[in-house]
């Protein structure tokens, strides 16, 4: 008998089918990966098991946990099963913890419910659990005092506190950077194996689960398209969708080297530094300045594609904002086409901005929801010294849309009518409408599903070839950096610690931060290669 077995599970929300006949099973001590792109129904599957679906959802089929029928269990029975026999870890660590309770209280609560321990015993167990997840002595801390990775450890401690037999982890690392991701996944796997728990690991990223899951279940549009042993399935996918996913997740082809050496750099920063004054915690202690960027010097040649990689919080976005004139450097210099940029010099700044545009990460947040595509894409035309006529503006927008593969019909539509990938095309259209020489792209593909990610990266490469645009790509994803960059800069704690061609940096990293990044980055190709060698 399986620990967890789903048979023909279907869920509708307001009559709309979300899951269509899912079959899935998890055995004790095994890890099963549930993989699919956003909207495929992964989270709904997990919530069905917990019986925590939204109110307007209706489920049918059977779900059994060690033979107990979960579909027909009473609410009271479910309360003893949730946390007691099935623990769950959620995606968003920043909001998953109650802000007004200490983490000790939140861990102890489950222990007191399920193990009926006294207050003291529960506290002791909670302290032990915190030690185990690597947060010793933090019993009396509040969630806001912890980082994202630490909070996710607390979530794991809560889920495992009452020693459940099954652990469900729903995208537990999607909000964290690669180094933390590896630590969290290692922790989950170690806990599962030392306690003999079954682990249902939900992820959108094949590379993440490839070397961790015994079995894999691929979900598309609410239905299972393929399942089997992980390595076998990924090496020889039977379903075209799985094949597409593995292709998109595998190492993207490196771009051809350029050989022309430019006479002068397009963009240069010299010893750029940015200090932030931290909020005062007490009037007795002096304010501690926090150095986000520390004497960063870089240079980008015309047409060159440079990737700036590093963990979250390493200062890469602050550096980009200073270059764009959106943040004031504490010291140092920025030169664009040889001319220094100053925030006070509005005219000079706007002149530089005409040749330097930006693409942001979030395809949903980067457009004003209340303006039409025409107005949004035309926004940078504001930088032109003369105002364009209506017809000319219309034409420029249509031309930019055509460059990114969108039709002129999109002009009068609103951003919410587009998918994530299309919106990122709109963002690129907005960036190229002034025919800039440099585009600064801040994590431009990290919010996209893998299949769409590959197409957007192709578009970037294509524009580089056709229009000769130089790029500064800011990313935490080494796969992306490898695919797009001529040169890679590795940033850590505000410093640029390593630089060189991608093959050097990624295959033979020299510094500790670069080594840590490379080691933590999941790599589907490498995993499959290692397993074939055995």
């Amino acid at each position: 008998m399986s620990l967890l077995a789903l048979q023909n599970l279907s869920v509708t929300i307001d009559g709309k089918p979300i899951l269509r006949g899912i079959d899935l099973s998890v055995e004790s001590g095994r890890t099963v990966a549930l993989v699919g792109e956003s909207g495929s129904g992964k989270s709904m599957t997990a919530l069905s098991v917990m019986r925590l679906l939204p109110r307007n959802a209706a489920a049918s089929g059977t779900i059994t946990l060690s033979g107990i029928d979960l579909m027909h269990a009473t609410e009271r029975q479910m309360c003893t099963l949730r946390g007691g026999r099935v623990g769950m870890v959620f995606q968003e660590p920043m909001t998953a913890l109650n802000p007004v309770k200490t983490i000790g209280e939140q861990i102890a609560e489950g222990i007191r419910i399920h193990l009926r321990s006294t207050f003291r015993e529960a506290q002791d167990r909670a302290a032990g659990m915190l030690d185990r997840v690597g947060l010793p002595g933090m019993l009396h801390r509040y969630p806001h005092e912890l980082s994202g990775g630490q909070r996710q450890r607390v979530d794991i401690a809560i889920a495992c506190a009452a020693e459940p037999e099954l652990l469900i982890a729903d995208e537990p690392t999607s909000a964290l950077d690669v180094v933390i991701q590896k630590q969290i996944l290692d922790l989950l796997q170690n806990l599962a194996s030392e306690r003999g728990m079954g682990l249902l690991l939900i992820s959108h990223d094949l590379a993440v689960v490839a070397d961790r899951a015994d079995e894999i279940v691929v979900l598309k549009d609410g239905a299972v398209v393929e399942h089997g042993k992980t390595i076998d399935t990924l090496r020889t996918p039977a379903h075209p969708y799985t094949l597409e996913l593995t292709r998109a997740s595998s190492r993207l082809p490196a771009r051809p080297r350029r050989h022309e050496a430019a006479l002068s750099p397009l963009l240069e920063t010299r010893n750029l530094t940015r200090d932030y004054v931290e909020r005062r915690t007490s009037w007795l202690t002096p304010r501690q300045p926090f150095r986000a960027v520390d004497s960063a010097s870089l240079s980008i040649e015309p047409g060159q594609s440079v990737a700036l990689v590093g963990r979250s919080g390493c200062g890469k976005s602050t550096l980009a904002r200073m270059i764009l004139g959106l943040d004031r450097p504490t010291s140092g210099e920025i030169l664009f086409e040889g001319k220094p940029l100053h925030l006070e010099d509005r005219q000079g700044l706007n002149e530089a901005r005409r040749a330097m545009q930006v693409v942001f990460q979030d395809p949903y947040g980067s457009f004003d929801p209340r303006q039409t595509v025409e107005k949004l894409v035309a926004e940078p035309l504001h930088l032109l010294p003369q105002r364009l006529g209506k017809a000319e503006r219309h034409e420029r927008v249509a031309e930019a849309l055509a460059q990114v593969g969108l039709s002129a019909e999109s002009l009068s539509r609103y951003p919410h009518e587009f998918s994530g990938g299309q919106r990122q095309r709109l963002a690129i259209a907005r960036a190229i409408i002034l025919r800039p020489k440099l585009i600064i792209a801040d994590e431009p593909v990290s919010a996209l599903d893998v299949s769409i990610r590959a197409r957007i990266l192709e578009l970037f490469a294509d524009l580089n070839a056709r229009l000769g645009v130089a790029y500064l790509f800011i990313t935490h994803d080494l796969q992306v950096a490898r695919a797009v960059a001529d040169e890679v800069l590795v940033m850590d704690n505000g410093h640029i610690v390593e630089r060189g061609p991608p093959s050097n940096v990624f295959d033979r990293p020299q510094t500790e931060p670069a080594k840590a990044l490379v080691a933590a980055t999941p790599d589907l190709g490498r995993t499959l290669a290692q397993h074939s060698a055995i």
Binding site: V358, D368, R370
Partner: protein, 278 residues
């Protein structure tokens, strides 16, 4: 506004009822300019304190005036005072809030401290102070209620704007060289408009209540112009013999406020961004 938001507007029950009540009250106030059953300034001693009848649907007061006509003219007065006062509050408060959010730093600090200061003076206290030096009048009520509304709108606009400023589309606009004022007008204001609309209906309802209280105390519109609050003051000593003198103006106040509150609730539901995303 998208088509789906419009569809929800129509389906929303509180919105429909609230809109209906508010429209009726507004229509009554407008009608009073053209026609009332009786002249509210004419005192007919023979007709005094008459119970509701076919001739006087809402009865008459102690001076023989027709209560229905007085309620109609009172509606005009209440709505005018509330409209101007809330207009002052929103007209000054929203720009201040947008400015505070855009500039931050000392501008934000000064506006926040100014708000604290004004919040320490409930409209009634301001009205009392103004009346003490200028004597009573409808203008006092407008100024007192209006001043108190400024920081209310400033806080709503500031909080809304602060949630918009970190969004990436604002960064994109800044990268396109747009200044703070232009971004506030083009991007921030349209995105917090629904918040302000909801607050407008709430403040309008509160202003009706405040105006009634002030005119009840004699700090608002002065006789012979009828006002709902003053009518209740006149009714107070005659509760035992002429309860209708209290019932009709009181119901008019409650109904107007209820209508506006329902309108606000309905707008809030229909425009809630969390529901829009779904």
């Amino acid at each position: 506004m998208s088509a789906s938001a419009l569809a929800r507007l129509e389906l929303n029950r509180s919105l429909t009822i609230g809109f209906a009540i508010t429209s009726i009250m507004l229509a009554t106030a407008l009608l009073s300019f053209l026609w009332t059953p009786y002249d509210v300034t004419k005192l007919v001693v023979a007709d005094r304190t008459q119970a509701p009848s076919l001739a006087h649907l809402f009865g008459t007061d102690h001076l023989g005036r027709d209560i229905l006509s007085m309620v109609m003219v009172g509606a005009r007065n209440s709505i005018a005072v509330a409209l101007v006062a809330v207009g002052i509050g929103a007209g000054l408060g929203v720009p201040l809030g947008l400015w505070a959010a855009a500039k931050g730093g000392w501008v934000d600090e000064v506006i926040a401290r100014g708000s604290d200061l004004v919040f320490a003076f409930p409209a009634l206290l301001s009205a009392i102070m103004i009346t003490a030096i200028l004597g009573p009048g409808a203008v006092n009520a407008i100024i007192a209620i209006g001043i108190f509304n400024i920081p209310v709108f400033a806080r709503v606009a500031r909080a809304g704007a602060l949630s918009i400023w970190p969004r990436e589309f604002i960064l994109a606009a800044r990268a396109a060289g747009k200044g703070l004022a232009r971004i506030s007008l083009e991007h921030v204001l349209p995105n917090i408009f629904s918040l302000i609309l909801v607050q407008l209906s709430i403040q309008f309802a509160l202003a009706i209540l405040a105006e009634a209280a002030l005119s009840y105390l004699g700090l608002g519109a002065q006789p012979p112009l009828p006002s709902w609050g003053r009518m209740l003051f006149d009714a107070q000593t005659r509760m035992a013999v002429a309860p209708w003198m209290a019932i009709f103006p009181g119901t008019a106040i409650a109904l107007t406020v209820l209508g506006l509150n329902l309108l606000g609730d309905g707008l809030n539901d229909a425009l809630d961004p969390r529901r829009r995303r779904a």
